[in-house]
Symmetry: C2
Subunit: 333 residues, 2 copies
């Protein structure tokens, strides 16, 4: 058994678990996970019935005596951080009628708790005092930031007009210091270069997509000491992809200061991207609807130790390649 | 004000804080922190009296309205993980008469809670089932691992005979599956090459020291998919040093899967390296004894995506350069 197989077996050592919960308790990408599951079944170590995975007698012997629990802290869901309670009520109120994610732009939003934990983490880092650039804001994170009244300036851009209108209307109504603009990140915008202290983005998880999103973030920063935040899953980005991304980060002049696994949860609340889950490859492959918030991403923080140098400059046209590759099994087809 | 100055100011926004606690609430290395503190004082934003830092009236204006709290989860001390309670009692019992750290080898141990959280994290990753190599074990982490009876094999090495004797005696007395050997990591040992699935180490924080420790860990691994754990502070390793280290990791064929800040606490329990704190440069500079567990390190996890390739091979002789550089302000002189 390799490490991932052991990890799956150990997650079952204390009892049967839904297949979607197992996804959340292992580190492989979705295509790799699917293969491992098939292999464990073939080896006679697990059985799968109605979306529930259980150890066979042989599987139990392989798992051993020690019963593995879920060791994540229950108070903070394993994130290590509290939410910024001070802005929670207002944030929820404003987001009540948020635009629903659309397939076209591969949208999906993190939970309100995740946004308010990211906010806590950024405050702790001293990353909320200057000018902040949000590259793509289906999370509506700009609104959480603005509610603290700490940043000097917040600029949010998105390709989706609905989101920009929503943010600008909220800013107007609640007196929030945000400027929001429609912007296709494939186009370079002079007005967004070397103007910011911090960028925040949640890139699509293909190599061309990540390179583009991170480059626009990096290009927006003023210089050494500036920082950036982004999310990255293990589900749609294998360790090999992570390796390539880390090389990009280094080459752009940045050190990685934090990688906090499963910090950002995408809740299946009836409105999120799970609305079209029958179109997600992983749902088709497993042939069973999800019953657990299995889609999470790690939060990266990076900091410029050299003059930030984006890998992509000028206008580009990437088309479908921005959204899809062999690993994008949670992206609709 | 730069980011670190803002971070210090914000940590004071809710009231006066001990200088040692402030160290823990900011991200700069000790020499940088010391400079920032001087600068803030010069600018008239803070006052320092008897080791307590407070904002001046001008400092309060600079901090603004929003009162910054400590957002770390109180249940898990910001780590996101529970301890492995199942082995806690026995682990504490065994460690009761642990050897005290000695200056000569720059020793210092993490808390029992930190060790048992690291263990939880490793179990969750599926990293405790094969053979595990501990390169330097003043933390006595091999004993925590062995108490789960999950690893097939644990080999711990250290330059300090006292530790090796202690581990071997505990293994004998409690029936633990650990082999411990005296080993100076400056010497290459054929028997420790390509034999392990996982390595764990806590390197000294100079570039030559880290390169050496990580290389010995990397050399011990069997191949792709194997993983390594190590601690790294921000206190004695600036962001520039982190940047260099991350390049090393990449070049050795590894992806960084996790960087969990302040995961490992070095408790000031009367026996740890704080016993000789009057010899630590930071204590001399601040000229006040510590009153807070300010020495913490981030937990790195790395995973081989290529054949592991150590940067240091063969025997080397580094001398003092292993232990000390311009940033080692928490290392006795």
């Amino acid at each position: 058994m390799d490490r991932i197989e052991k990890q799956i077996i150990s997650a079952l050592s204390a009892g049967d678990v839904s297949i979607w919960k197992i996804i959340d308790f292992q580190d492989a990408s979705l295509p790799e996970f699917f293969e491992k599951l098939k292999e464990l079944k073939k080896k006679g170590l697990i059985e799968i019935k109605n979306g529930v995975v259980r150890l066979t007698e042989e599987g139990k012997r392989a798992a051993g005596e020690f019963k593995i629990r879920d060791y994540k802290c229950k108070t903070c869901d394993g994130t290590g951080y509290e939410i910024v309670k001070e802005v929670e009520k207002k944030y929820k109120e404003i987001l009540e009628n948020r635009p629903k994610p659309v397939e076209k732009y591969d949208q999906g939003y993190i939970s309100i708790e995740a946004a308010l934990r990211k906010l806590a983490f950024m405050i702790e880092r001293g990353d909320v005092y200057g000018s902040i650039f949000i590259a793509g804001d289906d999370d509506l994170f700009s609104i959480a930031l603005a509610l603290t009244h700490l940043p000097e300036k917040i600029v949010a851009v998105d390709i989706d007009e609905r989101l920009i209108n929503f943010i600008n209307e909220a800013a107007e109504k609640y007196g929030l210091n945000i400027e929001a603009y429609i912007q296709d990140l494939q186009k370079e915008n002079e007005a967004l270069i070397k103007k910011f202290d911090v960028f925040v983005t949640d890139p699509v998880e293909t190599i061309p997509g990540i390179k583009l999103f991170l480059s626009r973030g990096v290009a927006s920063l003023k210089g050494i000491g500036c920082s950036g935040y982004f999310g990255l899953t293990t589900l749609e980005a294998s360790r090999k992809k992570w390796y390539e991304i880390q090389k990009m980060i280094h080459d752009m002049g940045f050190v990685i200061t934090d990688i906090r696994r499963q910090f950002q949860v995408y809740p299946d609340d009836g409105s999120n991207f799970f609305q079209y889950q029958e179109k997600l490859p992983i749902v088709k492959k497993l042939n069973i609807k999800s019953d657990y918030n299995w889609y999470k991403s790690a939060l990266y923080r990076i900091e410029a130790v050299k003059q930030p140098e984006p890998l992509v400059k000028g206008d580009v046209e990437l088309g479908e390649a921005v959204y899809k590759d062999d690993e994008s099994w949670a992206t609709p087809i």
